[in-house]
């Protein structure tokens, strides 16, 4: 979540991001791809796990916890966020390279070509950072608490 803070600052100031920031955000995009790959691999390992470190109800709780981890890194609803993020980066980078005066210009959210697009992107980013990401982490905390009661 802290990784979005610099992007948020530029959106609030409506200032152009530096090349270094864009490079960092591109790296974060690659991390999303790594996360999805790891989640996929974890799910496969979980499904094929033959040795069970604990039995019965504790194993069920352990499975639920691992599934929550995989879902956090690759939930179905995260695809929309990733798509939005990828599109935003591509658009901003293109407009920086073309010397566009308003690098945040993107009417796709409101449909209004004269709207305050930096503010629209900021609202979208804030919703993801303050609502969606914490919400996505809740199943991990809940299953961790359940697993803790089974193991201790």
């Amino acid at each position: 979540m802290a990784g979005f803070a610099e992007l948020q600052r530029h959106l609030e100031a409506k200032s152009s991001p530096s090349g270094a920031l864009l490079a960092f955000l591109e790296t974060r995009r690659r991390d999303f791809e790594i996360e999805r790959d790891l989640a996929h691999q974890l799910t496969q390992h979980l499904a094929s796990a033959e040795r069970r470190p604990v039995r019965s109800d504790a194993w069920a709780a352990l499975q639920t916890y691992c599934e929550a981890i995989a879902d956090y890194f690759y939930p179905a609803n995260n695809i929309a966020h990733t798509t939005w993020y990828t599109r935003l980066l591509d658009k901003v980078r293109g407009q920086v390279e073309r010397g566009h005066t308003d690098v945040w210009w993107d009417p796709s959210i409101s449909g209004d070509p004269k709207g305050d697009h930096a503010r629209e992107q900021l609202l979208h980013l804030t919703t993801i950072a303050l609502r969606d990401l914490p919400e996505a982490f809740k199943p991990i905390n809940a299953s961790f608490a359940e697993l803790q009661t089974k193991l201790l």
Partner: protein, 49 residues
């Protein structure tokens, strides 16, 4: 630097989950202390990043 930390953290989560799943003949408490708790702490750190 930060990029390396992120990638390293994700890889470590993967390794930690695999270690958790492959642990066997472990006492429940040890499984929690040695695997589950450190894994969860790492996940919380990544979530905050």
């Amino acid at each position: 630097m930060l990029e390396g930390v992120i990638a390293g953290s994700l890889k470590s989560v993967y390794d930690m989950v695999l270690a958790l799943l492959s642990a066997h003949d472990a006492q429940k408490r040890n499984l929690f202390v040695d695997h589950v708790k450190p894994l969860h702490e790492r996940l919380v750190a990544i979530h905050k990043d």
